[in-house]
């Protein structure tokens, strides 16, 4: 890959070489500062970093995954998009995107690990199978579990792309036949930024990288290890349909009048009220739309284990109870019924017993 040759260039050099004007470069820096939630006074810091710091080398590994994170990433809507962004982060190894393959490419990964020991970012897309020594995900002749451990050992930090690397996604949904485990379950001694979503929003992905590049530190994280700048608020709190939620105006089926009018999707199982992400702020594909904007309830893809919190189109999760699919209300009604039946039975026994004692006492009197 040609990017390998440019490893000491700054971002500004790359922008210049690619024919991007300084005006567009500054626009990019301002946009990035907005996405990162930084004040306008921080823009010069970003410009400074972009112009002077050598680009941060990134090794991008792919485990058990579907590549939707990469697909999202290459659609980042910043100036002159795809190839610019590939150059931006100095993507030195990516087995899916690179032209080279086989030993050539694996040598490249090892070279970067040696040259930039302790300095590179390890970006992980997908997760590792841990069952049976990880044989359910083999890459380059070795298990992904081994590759991940080996590459993580000398990384400065790890970025876990997407729901797979962050929380496990569909691979570790019940019953998880391959023992798929998120990166944080395998690597314990490195700082990990979780960028969940299925996939994450492209601007969120580039924003996280830019933050690390600009400040040399990881962004501030929430309780789940997600960058606060993008995962601090719920979809629900910034949703443009929130007015319909408060008013109690709901879509009741996907072919009703309310659907055409764009009312709230809460009753259709929308997970917006419990999902932390930037979809209702940044939106997707350069601000074109997001699931709720297209009339589909949020499925909560940036939340842990969202596959096991189903069904997608119901508010209340279904859970196994006494060998059947149930939900909180069914369990509750059964329990209340059992309590009432128990009380009635107890009352009956009490009455019978009392009648007996009374009779006994009366007999005694007589």
């Amino acid at each position: 890959m040609e990017v390998v040759m440019q490893s000491n260039q700054t971002f500004a050099d790359v922008f210049k070489a690619r024919g991007v004007s300084r005006r567009d470069f500054l626009k990019f820096c301002s946009l990035t500062s907005v996405y990162l939630g930084l004040s306008p006074s921080m823009v010069p810091n970003i410009v400074q970093a972009m112009e002077n710091k050598p680009r941060t080398p990134v090794i991008w590994l792919h485990g058990l995954e579907c590549t939707c994170c990469s697909e999202s990433f290459i659609r980042s809507s910043h100036p002159t998009i795809e190839d610019l962004l590939f150059n931006m982060i100095s993507l030195d190894y990516d087995d899916v995107l690179s032209a080279a393959a086989g030993h050539q490419l694996e040598d490249q990964r090892k070279k970067i690990m040696k040259e930039y020991k302790g300095k590179y970012i390890l970006a992980v897309e997908g997760n590792a199978s841990t069952k049976d020594d990880g044989v359910y995900c083999m890459v380059g002749g070795d298990s992904f579990l081994n590759t991940l451990k080996e590459t993580a050992a000398d990384a400065a930090a790890i970025v876990a792309w997407g729901a797979c690397a962050s929380f496990g996604c569909v691979q570790n949904a019940d019953p998880n036949p391959t023992g798929a485990a998120p990166v944080s379950d395998i690597i314990k001694d490195k700082p990990i930024v979780k960028v969940p979503g299925c996939p994450p929003i492209s601007e969120v992905m580039t924003g996280v990288i830019t933050h690390f590049h600009t400040f040399g530190t990881l962004p501030e994280l929430d309780r789940f290890g997600r960058p606060k700048a993008f995962y601090n608020t719920r979809i629900h709190d910034k949703c443009y349909r929130r007015a319909f939620f408060d008013a109690g105006m709901f879509v009741r089926s996907f072919d009703d009048e309310a659907t055409r009018k764009g009312w709230c999707l809460y009753k259709m199982g929308c997970k917006g009220p419990t999902t932390y992400n930037s979809c209702s702020k940044i939106q997707w594909n350069g601000g074109t739309s997001f699931p709720i904007g297209s009339g589909h309830p949020c499925i909560g893809c940036s939340e842990p284990n969202f596959w096991d919190r189903g069904p997608f189109y119901k508010r209340l999760a279904e859970v196994p109870f006494l060998g059947s699919d149930s939900n909180a209300d069914k369990i509750g009604v059964i329990a209340v019924g059992a309590a009432a039946a128990g009380a009635a039975a107890h009352a009956a026994v009490t009455a019978v017993k009392k009648a007996k004692t009374d009779k006994h006492e009366n007999n005694d009197k007589a």
Partner: protein, 227 residues
């Protein structure tokens, strides 16, 4: 009916007030909570800005919740510092094996009809104390903590998010916490059924006016039926 031979002032005013405020709040919270989970009413036609269809239910839920919390804290104060011998926690020591000894076993045996005579307590009997600890103390505490964690969600970094937000990762995410909060709400109707049944039953069996005692404060000792 036997003659009333003694009136005992058991439930002092703070306890009775707590009881009824708690009862009203619990009913309000359960009804509004269930409605929030499944809002069934349709608003009339018109613009969203004219209606508070769901916002109103949520408002009542939150308002009742804060009254419930204040009332709960007041009851804790009364139990710990009120100096009220029938309302304090003093006798309740489930961590000590002796608490599970004879009085508890006797009461359980009576409820299971293994014993024929019913032990009589002026305050709560040991089984009632345990039920109140599990349902009312633990149940309320869980609903308060999980509720405040969810209430804090729309204000990241705020008081509730900071002090109660740890409940969210503890239960595996906001959605799961909502689910558990919803599921746990069902312990209150279960408790109400058991509570009302036990109270009415004791009134019939022991004739201590336990039902009216939560209004008047007085329980009665009744003379045994003349043989």
């Amino acid at each position: 009916m036997g003659r009333i031979i003694e009136e005992i002032y058991v439930w002092r005013l703070p306890v009775r007030l707590y009881h009824w405020i708690n009862a009203l709040c619990t009913v309000a919270l359960f009804v509004t909570g269930m409605y929030i989970a499944a809002p069934i009413l349709n608003p009339p036609l018109g613009e969203a800005v004219w209606y508070k269809g769901l916002a109103w239910w949520r408002y009542v839920h939150f308002a009742a919740a804060f009254i419930f919390i204040a009332n709960f804290l007041f009851r804790m104060y009364w139990a710990l510092l009120g100096g009220d011998k029938y309302a304090r926690f003093g006798g309740f020591r489930p961590w000590s094996p002796s608490w599970w000894g004879t009085p508890f076993k006797e009461q359980v045996a009576a409820y299971l009809f293994i014993r024929s005579d019913e032990p009589n307590y002026v305050g709560h009997n040991p089984v009632a104390a345990l039920a109140h600890f599990v349902f009312i103390f633990c149940g309320s505490a869980f609903m308060i903590f999980s509720g405040l964690a969810m209430y804090g969600e729309n204000n990241p970094g705020g008081f509730n998010a900071t002090w109660f937000g740890w409940m969210i990762p503890l239960f595996g995410g906001s959605y799961t916490l909502h689910f558990v909060h919803h599921l746990a709400a069902w312990i209150f109707p279960i408790y109400v059924i058991m509570h009302l049944y036990a109270v009415f039953r004791h009134d019939v069996v022991d004739r201590t006016s336990v039902t009216s005692s939560i209004i008047t404060g007085y329980k009665h000792k009744v003379e045994e039926e003349p043989a």
